[in-house]
């Protein structure tokens, strides 16, 4: 259709194999699954109908949908097609999917303004525009059919990929109408279905991306194998900002399969016939580093700097009433300070990127949440204009924010510039953890005032830490504030008449920060929900009843709180050593209440047995995906609460692999129940909500079980020994 389309044809070609597979389930049921990576884009022509950047219908009737968001396991490759298909009137089994090429104009996320998948906003951003895209196409197809038949469009309807003339029962499928529909001017305005007319949205749809994930055929970035491929692994300066001084590669070069040593300013890579030889070669290198100015840095230094920062005033994120005055007049004052650690992403698929640098152009194979960013930054590293850089996107073996960054692609380009032919740069797990970009460290200083009845009359919070947005999306950082860093610290669900929050931006030296399954809420909800629990305890009131009394104006929050409490058996007796804790939040456009039940052993170790979640995430697009995402978020949060901590010593990250940076395993995993509240509100995000709420729920449960308040994560069992 347009030149944009042509550019995309080159970049979306991922694999020669792209086909629908039929997966037979026992009992004869057939499920249509997509074998990913999916789209090999065919060139468009007058033969196809492309009413917008998301839909293409060929003469053969094939409906191809271009996915602006990437699949990371959150089910977006199923729920996004549901939005389009709902209005286009096609079944999910009738569509084929393609990864979107880098094109910020066409595929920017409306909530971010850039082409990226993150911040739990795929469904929120897509909710209106993609339904409109489907409806627009449907109206044009109906118009084309009505002209062909010489009947009024009002007598025609669309269903299951066909236009039907209702009075006569005549039918034409979309493929037969594609050419004519392409000539119809798009309607100026479309009317979308009401929630009660939905056929697809709200039904549990089978995921379209699963079948390749049970037989090893799904292709992630790390699986790319362009012909002539070499394999590389690397060591980067162990101290951030350090330099490579000297490297003795004689032993490494003698290893069978090692081909080349690539030296960069601050890293060294071994290129080999396979990763086994590359790793062996790397171990055989004798490397000397120039550590640079962060050589003495420790986490304590950073924490102290942040603590100091909370003593000075910062930009005001929210101000209601007069918190200072109300504090002064309060019957009781409660103060606390909270610390949250740096965290690594530890996606199961370690960082990797494959690059073929040909001098005048560059080809990249990677799994990314932000393809346009990768293209732009890789082009810079390659010294080429962006249109000379082709990026093939892949499935992502875990994103969580890590793959919103392009550092891995930049690194791979730097190495590939010195290598003949394509090279796949795979980071060892140690490198992945020690050169991540981390969820920031945070310090909060918070105070509240209670009246005689224990009700909060004043709330004042000042917190300090890094702003990821300021680096990643500078225009969104305004007047010292950004919407992500403060989400969950302001606009609380509770009625708090005098409320004051300040944020002090402090970028820690010597350690890069990034998004991490949300940033703001993963920190702020821990603080606010721990602190409201402290207030309930100070007022000697039940934690659920205390919260509920502050929710008269907020029926959605109240409903999920009551539901979670009821399902969890809140208030019923528990054995010695066990406790329940609750947390309530409204972040990413979804209301969520969680009750955790924990057991604290004599040695202080904490086991989370059961988690009950009640959620109102607006209209549910795919209920099965919501369940899965909440479960996933809870496990992620429990991992953080029990184990998550990255520390620096002498400027080096101390954790390296899953022995020192532990993950929750199945034998420690809680049972999780998810209850959804029916709602007609626009859909909210849920990929991250489960994570932010569970951490304070667990901490509050530990308090219920032991009387010890946890103001620093992760939980330190030594402090809980009895």
């Amino acid at each position: 259709m347009t030149s944009d389309r042509k550019a995309s044809d080159a970049t979306v070609a991922l694999s020669r194999r792209s086909f629908l597979v039929k997966t037979a389930l026992a009992g004869g049921g057939l499920v249509l699954g997509l074998s990913l990576p999916i789209g090999e884009s065919r060139s468009s022509s007058a033969e196809t109908f492309e009413p917008n950047a998301f839909i293409r219908i060929g003469r053969d009737g094939q409906v191809v949908l271009t996915m602006p968001y990437v699949e990371m396991g959150q089910g977006t490759y199923t729920s996004i097609p549901m939005l389009i298909a709902e209005e286009l009137e096609v079944g999910l089994e009738q569509v084929r999917l393609e990864h979107a090429p880098p094109n910020e104009k066409l595929y920017a996320n409306p909530l971010l303004g850039v082409q990226a998948t993150g911040n739990s906003n795929a469904i929120r951003g897509a909710w209106k525009p993609l339904r409109e895209a489907g409806a627009t196409a449907r109206i044009m197809l109906i118009e084309a059919a009505s002209r062909r038949w010489g009947v009024g469009a009002g007598h025609c309807r669309a269903e299951a990929g066909e236009v039907v003339h209702t009075p006569s029962g005549r039918r034409l499928n979309y493929g037969e109408l594609a050419v004519e529909a392409a000539m119809i001017p798009p309607p100026a305005k479309v009317v979308l279905k009401n929630a009660d007319e939905f056929k697809l949205i709200g039904t549990p749809a089978r995921r379209l991306d699963v079948s390749g994930k049970v037989n090893g055929s799904a292709l992630y970035g790390i699986d790319a194998r362009p012909p002539g491929l070499k394999f590389a692994t690397l060591a980067q300066s162990p101290v951030f900002g350090g330099r490579l001084k000297k490297v003795d590669d004689s032993a490494a070069m003698a290893i069978k399969g090692v081909r080349q040593i690539v030296r960069l300013d601050d890293a060294v890579a071994v290129v080999a016939d396979h990763m086994g030889a590359a790793k062996k070669g790397l171990a055989a290198l004798r490397i000397e580093w120039e550590d640079g100015r962060h050589a003495g840095l420790s986490t304590r230094d950073i924490a102290r700097e942040l603590e100091d920062a909370t003593l000075k005033a910062g930009p005001v994120a929210q101000d209601i009433g007069d918190a200072a005055k109300a504090l002064a007049g309060a019957a009781t004052r409660v103060q606390a300070s909270y610390h949250l650690p740096f965290l690594a992403h530890a996606t199961m698929e370690p960082m990797n990127c494959t690059v073929h640098f040909r001098g005048h152009e560059c080809e990249i194979w990677v799994g990314t949440q932000a393809i346009a960013r990768v293209q732009a930054m890789a082009a810079k590293a390659a010294g080429l204009p962006p249109d000379k850089v082709t990026v093939h996107n892949h499935l992502i073996g875990g994103g969580f924010g890590r793959r919103l960054e392009a550092d891995g692609a930049v690194r791979a380009v730097e190495i590939a510039r010195q290598v003949d032919g394509p090279v796949k740069v795979v980071w060892t797990r140690e490198e992945d953890i020690q050169h991540d970009m981390y969820r920031p460290y945070w310090v909060d200083r918070i105070e509240a005032g209670l009246d005689e009845s224990g009700r909060p009359v004043a709330w004042s919070n000042r917190f300090a830490g890094s702003s990821v947005i300021a680096r990643w999306l500078p225009p969104a950082f305004r007047n010292g504030l950004d919407p992500d860093t403060t989400e969950g610290a302001i606009d609380l669900v509770y009625s708090l008449p005098n409320f004051h929050v300040e944020y002090v931006r402090v970028e820690p030296p010597g350690i890069p920060t990034a998004f991490w399954r949300s940033v703001g809420p993963s920190h702020n909800v821990f603080v606010t929900e721990s602190f409201i629990d402290e207030l309930a305890a100070a007022a000697k009131q039940d934690a659920v009843a205390y919260r509920r009394a502050l929710l008269d104006h907020n029926p959605r929050a109240k409903a999920v709180l009551e539901l979670a409490a009821e399902k969890a058996g809140w208030g019923t007796p528990l054995p010695q050593g066990r406790g329940r804790g609750v947390a309530l939040q409204n972040v990413f456009g979804s209301h969520l209440a969680q009750v955790a039940e924990v057991e604290v052993a004599k040695d202080g170790s904490v086991r989370v047995h059961r988690v009950v979640c009640a959620m109102d995430c607006g209209i549910v697009v795919n209920p099965d995906t919501v369940q899965a995402q909440i479960q996933s978020g809870v496990m992620f949060g429990v991992t953080a609460a029990l184990y998550g901590e990255i520390t620096l010593k002498s400027g080096r990250v101390e954790q390296a692999n899953f022995d020192t940076y532990q993950m929750l395993r199945i034998d420690q995993a809680p049972s999780i129940e998810v209850y959804l509240v029916k709602s007609a509100e626009p859909p909210g995000g849920m990929g991250e909500a489960g994570t932010s709420g569970i951490v304070p729920a667990v901490a509050n449960a530990v308090f219920a079980a032991t009387g010890r308040r946890l103001r620093k994560m992760p939980i330190d069992p030594d402090t809980l020994k009895t």
Binding site: T23, L25, A26, G27, G28, G29, V31, M72, G73, Q74, G75, R206, R207, V210, S211, G212, K213, V214, N215, G216, S217, A218, L219, I222, F231, I255, K256, G257, D273, H274, M275, G276, A277, K279, K280, T347, M348, E349, P350, L395, G397, G398, V426, R429, D624, A628, Q631, S632, G633, V634, F636, N657, F658, D659, M663, L664, R665, I666, A669, S671
Partner: protein
């Protein structure tokens, strides 16, 4: 050194150092990318394959230790009865999220079921706790193993 190993019933010859982990022989030399790299230290289970009928971590299994042993990978596990049941149950419960760990999960689960057709929760904990899932699909993994252990996959 040249080694000939039996992978999924086919003898494959590779010319690598004897201490090369099987993982890289499979992925990089033979191009069988279904087996995944996660840690390289037997800590995560992503690289799990079967050596004869036992689940092993291919990242620490050197190619010279395999000898006559028969290697089965995710690409061929559907050809075993336990493997086929596990794959069907995984689809039925839609276990995978990002999916990256799932080759290893399925290999561990099928070794478990081949050995203990009706595992208890403790058996599941034992067999599966070496496999990390960063996406936290543990609830569904457990359900799917129980479904696979039952007589039939539920009809839908």
């Amino acid at each position: 050194m040249s080694f000939t190993i039996d992978v999924n019933g086919i003898p494959r010859s590779v010319d690598v150092d004897g201490d090369t982990p099987l993982l890289w022989v499979l992925r990089d030399v033979l191009g069988m990318t279904g087996t995944k790299f996660g840690c390289g230290m037997a800590l995560c289970g992503a690289c799990t394959v079967h050596l004869d009928s036992a689940a092993v971590r291919s990242c620490i299994t050197t190619v010279d230790s395999i000898g006559e042993g028969k290697v089965t990978t995710i690409e061929a596990i559907g050809g075993t009865s336990a493997g086929a049941k596990v794959q069907r149950a995984w689809l039925e419960h839609e276990v995978p999220q990002c999916g990256y760990c799932q080759s290893g999960q399925i290999m561990s689960a099928s070794a478990l079921l081949a050995d203990k057709p009706h595992p208890t929760d403790a058996d599941i904990d034992d067999a599966m706790s070496g496999n990390i899932c960063r996406c936290g699909t543990y609830v569904r993994i457990r359900e799917a193993i129980k479904l696979a252990a039952g007589s039939q996959v539920k009809e839908r």
